[in-house]
Amino acid sequence: MDAIADRAFENVPSGNVLKEQDETPSLLTVILDLNPLQWRSLKADITLKDISKSLLVMLNSHLSLNSSNTVAVLSSNSYKSGAQWIYPKPLETDDTETAKQRSHAHLVNPTMYRGFRIINDSVLEEISSILDMEPDRFQDIGKRGKDDSKGKVKGTLVGALSMALTYINRVQNTNDSTSIKSRILIVSTSDDLTLPYISMMNCTFAAQKMKVSIDVCKLGTDSTFLQQACDSTNGVYMYINHPSGLIQYLTTALFIDPSLRPIMVLPTNTNIDFRASCFLTSKIIDIGFVCSVCLCILSIVPHDEKCPICHSQFDPKIVKTLKAKPRTLPLIRKKRKLDSGAGASEETDTSRAATPAK
């Protein structure tokens, strides 16, 4: 009797668990770094035009996976408006825009599958309209902030990421019956200095909580923070060595649908730099001081012996030991029997002490 019952209850072969995943639609959110200066520096390798082409193909491919799949595109780091939506556009502007769009010559081949074409059209339209504005805005900004004549503005990748997350939150909440899976792809060219650390981390944790993977397609310089973001959200971090073959990267390594993640080997570099940045100097450090009250990371002991963030007064005794001879750590009171190792560690400690003193 048992044998018979068993048969009926496991009528599905074990592979079926995975088949369930074939049906789940997914949302792909792309954040495109539009900073003109960064793109200029990459000019030799790849142009924004090339990457837009590849991106559109990728968007189309994503849409073709499942007809319930959706995409969203945001721009970041542009001079025009920092971070902004490219697709979907808010409804209100749509009316005026569509009229314009109609009159516009089709940017993509009109024979394309309509579902793709509408999206491709509006994405290209929007990007070009942002780029048109860039030089003017750049000058504007240059005039306003005299000290920032270099054209250094705050990076807005985090803004775009935050917007993407709110959007994903909405999509996941409204379609309550259909559990849509989401992932974010960041095409980044700017370096870490433009990233506000805390906000970036907040985004990372929010994404982790929402089970949204963050994939990064990195051009230009490597980014520690983005690596960390990918690592903790089970995303793929790809440093693009050969930008000309970008399409292949985008349709393979960066194309792993959330439903496939559990069974795939993610082609990501697992050597991750977990160093933090100093709150005062923004220097990336591997050994630093942490305020016990607010946990801010400092590379040097501040002169006034006060935490620059929470203004707590540090214990002068401890600061003294830290400043002078940081060979014993105030944190550890436990006596350890390290007779043999003590000498060696002392040495390294003193050598380290040289850096903060500067």
Partner: protein
């Protein structure tokens, strides 16, 4: 386990039951019933303000308000706007006020669970004990999620003894496993607050100064059977700067109130609660996840802690022994000062005693320290500047509300609360958000998308 014997085994069962009565008598005014006591107290102190109704009297003296009275049709005869208003009002309650505090981020907490006979009561489903355990597991997960560099220990009160269930450590899995094992244990005997507190004190004794010392008690019983004078224990607790918080499952108990009051610098309101229902129980539990504000009276000097941020190496090619557990591992973390190979973080480097941590661990706590400002609701008006939520692009109800309707609604005070502009504005970047984004941004994301998206504001952090 030795502490277990210290407080527990010296007592015989007879002593226990005798003490129970004595202590209860000690702590309270003569033989007045417990329920009687609590009622008096509630009326007198705790909820006086909250109980006031709109007319100034007690809420039960107010006229009864039917829930459907507040629903009114707008000019087009639709009740859509009012319904969405109701929904929003509900969501608004989720938002808590955030004022930046100095908080003790590095915490050591002992979780004391009542496992006495009363916990087998079934007034909470499926039973008090099992509900408490499942919430405790949620709590521990959430606790380590938000306080990654903190430590927890778990103690239960059972048979008049305090038993250590899991040692103070920073590894959530150990605790959860221990709690899961507890599921098979029957609640038994009487609880003893004193024993539990003494054991907690022992556990918290040698925590470093920069860490907070906290005890969180879930207390189901209405009495405690202690071997000695609990007042002495309380003074000991005060001396060692241990802060006790209690979640009561049945009614206010004076001794609990006293413990909380004395260990929290006279503030028992924010440290002693009694649950209303299952949901409230969970909320109270989750409230304890948020680090305590650093009390003003303990203005000792703060410390700087030296920490290392190791990098992860995926694979050395060959497995190597880690220096912390001597296990064979592929890859691992490399201590930045002595280059030792570590398998699990956060930890203290066994070679050079440097505290090793991932920067992501620290970053998890930052939102407690730099909370996002609350958004302000845009007053109802005829026309609005924005049509879409800046975050999720949801379009706002575009209709400006008819001023007559607003006027009309103001007569019924409650209705007015439910007519909203559905727009919530960040005061810094002047961007409008919908209620869903507002809640999401403050509860989960802790970033304002508007401020972050603006490339001109350089004055960050």
């Amino acid at each position: 386990m030795d502490s277990d014997e210290e407080f527990g085994t010296s007592l015989s069962p007879e002593e226990l039951s005798d003490d129970a009565i004595e202590v209860a008598d000690d702590a309270s005014t003569p033989v007045a019933g417990i329920s009687n006591r609590t009622r008096k107290k509630t009326v007198k102190k705790v909820n006086q303000v909250e109980l006031m109704g709109q007319s100034g009297g007690y809420s039960w003296e107010d006229e009864y308000r039917r829930s459907w009275d507040i629903v009114q049709e707008d000019e087009s005869g639709s009740i859509e706007s009012i319904v969405s208003g109701l929904v929003e009002a509900h969501k608004k309650r989720l938002l808590k006020n955030v004022t930046p505090f100095q908080r003790g981020i590095i915490r050591t907490l002992v979780l004391v669970l009542d496992f006495s006979k009363v916990m087998s009561e079934k007034d909470l489903r499926p039973s008090r004990a099992s509900l408490m355990l499942s919430y405790a597991i949620d709590f521990i997960n959430e606790f380590f999620d938000q306080n990654p560099i903190s430590q927890i220990g778990v103690v239960i009160m059972r048979n008049g003894l305090a038993q250590l269930v899991s040692e103070v450590s920073g590894n959530p899995f150990d605790h959860i496993e221990a709690l899961n094992k507890l599921k098979r244990v029957e609640p038994q005997g009487d609880p003893s607050l004193q024993n539990a507190l003494e054991m907690s004190r022992g556990l918290l004794m040698n925590t470093p100064t920069h860490s907070t010392r906290e005890v969180l008690i879930v207390f189901g019983a209405l009495f405690t059977s202690d071997p000695g004078d609990i007042q002495k224990t309380i003074t000991h607790l005060q001396k060692t700067a241990i802060r006790v918080r209690i979640i009561g499952l049945t009614a206010h108990v004076q001794i609990c109130n006293e413990i909380c009051e004395k260990t929290n610098f006279g503030d028992s309101k924010n440290s002693y609660w009694v649950i209303l229902n299952e949901k409230h129980f969970k909320e109270l539990f989750m409230d304890a996840v948020i680090p305590l504000a650093v009390a003003k009276s303990t203005t000792e000097k703060f410390t700087l802690v030296k920490m290392g941020f190791p990098s992860r190496v995926a694979n050395f090619g060959t497995p190597t022994f880690c220096s912390c557990h001597s296990k064979l591992i592929y890859g691992g973390y490399i201590c930045p000062s002595c280059k030792a190979n570590i398998c699990l973080l956060p930890t203290i480097c066994p070679c050079c005693n440097l505290m090793l941590i991932l920067s992501t661990h620290l970053a998890r706590s930052y939102h407690h320290l730099f909370p996002l400002k609350l958004f302000s609701e845009i007053p109802v008006s005829k026309a609005y500047e924005s049509t879409n939520c800046f975050g999720c692009q949801k379009s706002f109800p575009s209709k400006g509300v008819n001023s007559e309707l607003v006027h009309e609604a103001e007569k019924h005070r409650q209705t007015a609360d439910f007519i909203t502009s559905s727009r919530y504005r960040c005061e810094d970047c002047r961007k409008d958000f919908c209620i869903d984004c507002d809640v999401f941004v403050h509860e989960v994301l802790h970033n304002c998308p508007g401020c972050e998206a603006d490339n001109l504001r350089l004055d960050e952090e």
